[in-house]
Amino acid sequence: MHTFVIASIVLAAQASPTAPQAPVPAAPAAPAAPAPEPIVLPVERRNSAGLATAIDALRSRFPTLISARQLATSVGKLPIPMLVLSSDAAQADARPGILLVAGMEGPRWSAGEAALVAAEVLARDHADLLKQVTIYVVPRANPDAGEAFSATLLRDYSGNAYPHDNDRDHKFDEDPPIDLNGDGFITQMRLAGAKPPWSNPTVVADAADARLMKKPDATKGQTPVYTLWNEGIDADADGRIGEDWKGGINIDRNFPHRWVEFEDEAGAYPLIAPESKALADFVIANPRIVAAVILGRNDTMVNVPDGKAKTDAGIAAMLDEADVAPYAEVAKAYREALGQKRAASNDTAGSFLAWMNAQRGVPTFGAQLWGRPDVPPKEAAKGGPADGAKDAAKDAPKDSAKDAAKDPPKPAPEAAKPEAPAAVTEGARPEGARPEGARPAGAAPPEGARRGQRGPRGGMGGPTAGPRRAEASTEAPKPMDEDDAAWLAYSDQVRGGIGFVPWTKTPHPQLGEVEVGGWVAGFKDNPPLPEVRPLGEKTGAFLAKLAEFRPVVELREPTLTVMGPGLYRINAELANTGRLPTIERGGRAEGVTPAHVVRISPPVERIKSGRRTDIVRGLDPGEVRAYDWIVAASPEELVEVQLLFAGAPLKSFAFRDGVRVDAPAAPPAAAGRPPAPEFSAPRTPQPQPPSSTPIPTSAKGGAK
């Protein structure tokens, strides 16, 4: 706990003046013991030079425990560094390994920071563990996306720098989203009653909070009011707005398991992205990796897979049912360590996570670090203020307007003017007032959402339409997407409104006047900066715990019984005394990954009973395999029982003339293939970015 407090203080001290002033969680009184100086001071949106600096700092503080390699180079020519935590760099790959991967997405900057902190914690507090287990830390698996998000313009996008003609017009990146209102974010635009040739309306404002857009409820006679676009213009005169941007392939959609063909971000074929391929090849080349944790968009810690989902071909979508129990134990340990209670659920198709479990059989866990925090319950239901507050207030409980006044974000001045286009909520539109050319309710996705392109996040409601309040009821309307509404409440009440840019009238060169607003990229993905280091520390502690869970394969001391002249019965046991399987079911097919091999030395014709070689593809925790050999051997012959892995002997027992003797010295275990090239940090000194480009707390209408 003491480190926690100190870290918080240090962080508060180094945080930029405009950093969010979120309350630091209260900590109990710290003991007097001095805390070690933190090495990694998390920052928001670190660029690659900053990443290199942090890695250098870790290496120079722990030169005997931390080395770095370069896993690959990104499409955008940035290095993908990997920290190797081991007491002996030369032996690192010959020991059981645990892989921690972060930074597959751009906006989720906190994951990479937490990974660096975790590396620091492991080196600082778990040097003994690193004599047995190697921990590989990839803090930024998708450096192009990370670099893009460390720039000044924030956008919810995680593609690498692979060139991509999104709108198939032979021009690349000619119509990117544009920050029309100059707030530093790419959000969304909405316009009521857009007419052809522009896209027809598809959504309405949610009566529960007019800032939230939702599909109209056709059963209630609602018709679409707003068209939603990415923030931008139609630079290429094709009628689509902000639809062709830089990049790329989302590397976490580019893995072979349940890869989605023809999805824009998934790549032309699995592992076409060098970033994805580097991770895959590293895992395949290092079969001693026994578990992995991915800090990113996917969660298996809070919502543990039940193992029931199958692919079209009948194999596990993520995890086989038989592997769930040990997996759930790890997830529980994570929840206990991090305290995370809530997590967003995302599609794992084409993810590193799904591939690792379902095709490699490496127990791999998806962790989001944090989930949407609770807000005081009586506040949670309230709609936040925005332009359109008038309508929201009309439908909301009485104190809403008062709340709006005392609880910013402050509406932009022009939005408060009477002539400003008030958001048209679902209840406010007269029945039958269908705009010209309107399509049936909910028929059209938001602009930019076609052909698998991910639409701007948060614009639409969730998958299920919530019940709409009765017209005459005085109850507050229920939001269609309750999670979004709760995020909004959290943003309004705890974070000073930084999470959502209120819809604000903005001139548009083609559409006349639109409203710009929406979720701030990365807001839902990252905890407040002061919480990142503590979460990273806990992640480090959790990884140490995970290392204790690792599978431990033991060949137990065999027993020998003389059955006749030169005839022996030899019994042995192979056991996994760890708490994870050596290989999950998904990786147990022949030839996927090296198996454990138990063998006895006499030639087959003198093994009267039992198999000479047993290839053990996967051993569950607690599983014991018993061997019962009857062998004929001459008195001078050495009879050896061996356990091997990947062609190298791990353990050997020997008998001669029915008596246990020392086994011949086994050659040292193979140290794996030649290590990857040493990671060399770019030497150009570059200041850390956050002080110059923080997420402003005062995003239009934010707290003052």
Binding site: A237, P256, E605, I607
Partner: protein, 624 residues
Amino acid sequence: MKRSLLATAWTTSRARRGISALAAAVALCAVPATHAQQQIPSKVDIDFDRFYTADEMEAQLRRLANAYPQLCHLEQYGTSSLGRPMWMLIINNPKTGAEGTKPGMYIDGAIHANEIQSGETVLYTAWYLLKAHGQVPKLTEIVDRTTFYLIPLVNPDGRVNWFSKPNTPNSARSGQVPTDNDGDGLFDEDGPDDMNGDGNISTMWRRDPLGTHKRDPRDPNKMVAVPAEPRADGTREYGDWSFAGQEGFDNDGDGSTNEDDAGGYDMNRNFPSGWQPVNVQGGAGKYPLCFPETKSIVDFVLKHPEIAAAQAYHNAGGMILRGPGAQSRERDYPRQDVAVYDRIQDTGAQMLPFYKSMVIWKDLYTVHGGLVNWMAEGEGIISLTNELWNDKRMMQNGQEPTEEDRKLWNERMLFGQTQVPLQELVHPDYGTVLVGGGSKYSSRIPPPFMLEEEAHRNFAFTMFHADQLPLLRWESVETKQVSPGLWEVTATIANDRLIPTRTARAAEKRIGYPDELHLTGAPVATAGLLRSRLDRSFEAQDFRPAELRVERGVPGQGSLAARFLVTGAEGTPITLKYTAEKAKAIETSVKLGESTIKADPAAASAAPGAASKPAPATGAPPKE
């Protein structure tokens, strides 16, 4: 008489080939149907009564490339797993357009290295096309309007293994990356062994007093099963030998024999569309395109969107196969595309004796991750696989040969060349064994004397396939004044071949770029596609109407109609250009007020005066 004269004229005119070719072509067209194939000279003599090793194949490709530099070049498109260069011969006539400006056809062979004649079939294709260009009008036309990408040996490492090492007709199918098939951490440590040193892996029989077989007293190379049924007196007859599997030892002493051979995977299960991991699809590889052989092809094809047809030769069985490889992917073959496949495959069944038109999963077996499946499903290319050679070719009557027929075929036609006499040897584990049987040439492969015919027939069929590549022409361009200064320009683009410029699959999945129809020369007020030239209204493309996007392309043996409303004075020249990834672009110019076809004067006029004419009751309202 006429023919022989022509042949003479032809021979003497070789020195002036460029000029005389056309004359000869014209002259040949006048010749009545004949039965003999014109003997046409080649700058490179290649025998097609023999098979070529990887090195020899490369040398033959080089000879062709050197002899016909104006028509082809050799390209190294990758490097194999074991470091051999991988070669593609690209045939393209630059005088009729650069690569990429006309439709392309991809043809490969021997991804399964043991299926050797597929390599010669591709080599034959190159050789014949090059020699026929300028001499055979039909093939000249095909070469001139097509780019051919020919890969005789997709798997050169396997080819080297098959020719240089002992093998069976089925082995060295795999690439040769050392692979731990049995999961014991050792790589390729227990392959078969050529015990009798004859260059083949045949079968072993171990001496066994309770044997299941005995040697046929009249033919000691034939093993005859003894009946398991007891004799009348209740005693059981035993033979002297029992089957002991493939020739080889238990090299790694694990109790299994020959379980970890060189390689041990299937590159034709390694392509992306519908790829499944090894627990579903054996041999799939650790991930799609994990082998340089497969990845190089895919990377090449992705860079060549003009490829609209593909053939990947295999052996054996006499099949013309299309996808899908798995039932679950039936929906990936839209009805319109299936109709194209059917027409091409059915023609193949007519051209290739005893070949059948088949669908892989339904008529053969389930395949996940095959090359032609990726081509068809992932890229929207009309792709086929021919399984070369059918044993019915041994017979006069086209019946499936019996055991006896095969024996006679081997004795009388092949003089016993594909059979290795049984020989007694001592095996370290089994004691006395008989080793022998069929050599690696004993099945799947035509005898050399039939190779050329097999190659030619398949080449001819594949040229029929190539001839179906989209070929566009302007069917009509009509201009009609709507009001003073406002013109309706209606154009139809015809494709007379079977393959559309965009397959239904490509259109559905938005693969590659849509076709485009551009109008320049006059301002376009609005434009849109029509279902037919005679439609009176269209769905407008609101933005950039002068550049119509045609996602569905021009159908096979059909046409596409589009209309522009343009402003301009009568006589203003306008230009129309139709571009497609998979067809040669076409362009035409007309003047406002002119039409290339004569419209029925009685047909409804677009002039305002005629607008009051009542629409027929059945007329569909304009689409909203």
